[in-house]
Symmetry: C2
Subunit: 470 residues, 2 copies
């Protein structure tokens, strides 16, 4: 028995894909992914139309999707993150139907609950055997964790694994077992290694970033959470990584061993694991080659599904065991609402990813953001789009001071006692506006470009198209 | 956040267990299991009644269940295997409703399809963290694989993990992730290590067994299947292990590297892995401590769920990649139907387990059985109970010759060409009866004690109660 079929077209036909159905993709190959494009081209060539594409995230490499929306092969899009180039096309109105944004935890939950059923999942796999056991740990297109693909594999009606590295049965160390897989397709290359993972992730050298990072580490220390068993998440942004570096110094100096770091994993967190700062890494996605290698070699470095990582619900997820998460923002307003979906002009350039999941789950959700960027204020009266509700954000660290959510009176007191420059968030907003000027009210287009759906499945906000000519 | 509750009773109450519901258990602690008994005692003490107990298997240690059937706490039982002591009580009519026997592959499939919904699954775990991540690999009550518990964890409405070894979050190397778990209960001991896994598994020294084992190895060699990539399964019975030993000699001598061995894993198969006879072990259950240690230490030794192991359906399972399986029989008839549910008197003393799953999936399903045992013929006109249909059995090896299913003309030819003593199965039956005498028609009781449900979910056979006084 073998599930290997002779072509992608045969797999699509056998899977029974028809007009109006939903196909899904994961984003572990990031901006190096070839799979979404060649699958959609093949589907277009077969004359199938009116599809929903449900991807965990979309990158600029996926811009050919816009051609498929023009020809109405694709009429609906759902993703947890859409990068700036593709996002701009969507903000200019490439689709009639609004894009649906979810969170990394909300997406698998909605799939599991049948709210967003998937007809055919296409799983790009850096290694697979002929029965469909597959992994991202090995192969020329290695990406490490396949965390975001689990829900697709488990719940899609048909599952097609696409690999450029077929290995003899049984594959050693599968992430997704054969039980979920219908067909296996072999291709020359599923992606471009240069776009899949970066070689190394860089700590910022920007002086403002370093100031904020140092302040962030002090806030964590003052919060009372930095003690034995401490758990931590941060993104791969330069200032966040710099904060992790300052944190590491404190942890090593004071002999604190944390329990885990989670989320997207960088080599920087791998170093912290190896140096004893954490007992485990909970990895839903590898950001660089050092993380991939560590996931492959070190049993303390554990792969988690997006469901285990971040799904809302009474059973909880890894995010509910988090002490501290450091997050970014393109805007944050005086109610602590955060925007990570659009730039200050309202053009789509991101998405929640795990932002609101970790903010909701963690004990301390910290935003690091400068007061302004390119003469646009970051701290503002009202964010252009609510990505994460202010009730889940505890503290904002800027170069001009630290603002604490009024809901966290005890935290504010701790930070003040530690001598940190605690300021009211309205004051930060005014300082930002003093430099940039008060931003003009943003003109909006007349159509809804995207809906932002909260991790619990409710409509959180609406993103409008850009006005004509922008 | 922690899912640890203060008592088993609290977990049962929180899980909402009420009259008429279904509770489930796995059997990895085998005859050393404490969990099923103390959970059922607690449930009885809470006054809950009319429950269905769905266990992957039941052992004599679970005989207190009979008391719960008398008091009507338990009115329905389902299991894939029931050992002889408990089986006899059931054959004597302990339950009004027939016990439902399934296979190791059919059970998870029926659970996944909602045919046998589980309200509360109780998962005995040799190690767990406070969020419910759990494993059988470590702890004083280690049992290795938790393969049979996956479906229960994934599909039960509520999942209670019971452990005698709570470890800090996050556990390293979970089998079942926290995403599926509602409550965690800590107890002093989940089982008696002496009953959980045997220290070592013994190859038979019985001369008849050794003759059959040597013949079995020759049959496999002559079948043409014993070549690079060979895959193999055998039980822990003495003659089966002896056959594996002969096979190992051939494989090492001829430099054949197989792909995998699967099923319940013994130290004997671990040795074959280490000596290069296989690239991987696919382990749904560990039979001895050497297997447990290997599963913990060697990444080539892989845990599989019962679903991945043996579930029927178009996606296939490990059993569908099997070349050869060696199986036992308490009876086999001239249509090659096999009984592993009852003894020749009709008393329940086993069950299919993975018998009919592997027979259906493998290319060569071989029964090793003596012509007679304790003056009862094993080869007979008609088995007392059909556990595995004759169409899935390819060859019978006895001490008096080898019988090939007439459906396998090519196999018969290969064996004859190899000089093996191929005989008609009717001739084996006559030789058996020449020694034991023709068995008398078996008197039956007047009630159905059990239904045997095939791996596809159909009624395969019916087991009657023993007549009065037996």
């Amino acid at each position: 028995m073998s599930k290997v079929v002779k072509s992608l077209r045969e797999a699509i036909a056998l899977a029974g894909l028809r007009d109006g159905m939903t196909v899904s993709f994961h984003h572990h190959l990031r901006n190096g992914d070839f799979v979404l494009n060649f699958v959609m081209d093949e589907i277009a060539g077969m004359g199938i139309r009116d599809l929903t594409v449900n991807a965990s995230a979309l990158f600029d490499v996926h811009t050919p999707l816009i051609g498929h929306t023009e020809s109405r092969v694709v009429t609906h899009l759902a993703a947890n993150y859409i990068s700036a180039g593709l996002g701009r096309a969507i903000s200019r109105g490439a689709l009639e139907a609004p894009v649906e944004f979810r969170t990394h935890g909300g997406r698998p939950k909605d799939i599991a609950l049948g709210r967003t059923p998937i007809d055919v999942a296409f799983i790009a796999a850096p290694a697979a055997d002929p029965m469909g056991n597959c992994t991202g740990r090995i192969g020329k297109s290695t990406c490490g964790s396949l965390g975001y693909a689990f829900a697709d594999a488990m719940y899609a009606k048909r599952v097609v694994v696409i690999t450029d590295n077929i290995v003899p049965y049984p594959l050693q160390g599968w992430s997704i077992p054969e039980s979920y897989v219908d067909y296996v397709v072999t291709v020359d290359a599923i992606g471009d290694p240069k776009g899949i993972v970066s070689g190394t992730t860089q700590v910022t050298r920007d002086p403002v970033g370093l100031v904020m990072a140092a302040q962030a580490a002090k806030v964590i220390q003052a919060s009372g959470l930095l003690k034995e068993g401490f758990s931590f998440q941060t993104g791969a942004g330069g200032a966040s990584l710099a904060a992790a570096r300052f944190l590491k110094d404190i942890m090593l100096r004071e002999g604190i061993q944390g329990s885990f770091a989670s989320g997207g994993i960088t080599g920087y967190l791998v170093d912290m694991l190896r140096e004893g700062c954490f007992r485990s890494l909970m990895d839903v996605q590898c950001f660089d080659l050092k993380a991939v290698e560590s996931l492959r070699e070190d049993p303390r470095h554990q792969e988690i599904s997006a469901m285990q990582y971040a799904a809302p619900g009474e059973r909880g997820a890894v995010v509910d065991s988090l002490d501290v998460v450091i997050l970014g923002a393109t805007e944050i307003d005086t109610d602590f609402h955060v925007n990570v979906h659009t730039d200050s002009n309202g053009s789509i350039m991101g998405g929640s990813g795990g932002h609101s999941d970790t903010a909701a789950g963690s004990k301390l959700a910290m935003i690091i953001a400068p007061l302004f960027r390119a003469r646009m204020p970051i701290v503002t009266d009202r964010v252009t789009c609510i990505s994460t509700p202010g009730q889940d954000i505890d503290v904002l660290v800027t170069q001009a001071g630290v603002a604490v959510n009024p809901r966290q009176a005890e935290l504010r007191e701790r930070l003040e006692q530690a001598g940190l420059p605690v300021v009211d968030i309205h004051e930060l907003k005014e300082r930002a506006e003093a430099i940039t000027g008060k931003p003009k009210a943003l003109p909006k287009g007349d159509r809804v470009a995207a809906k932002v759906i909260s991790r619990e499945g409710e409509l959180l906000d609406t993103i409008y198209t850009l006005p004509e000519g922008r």
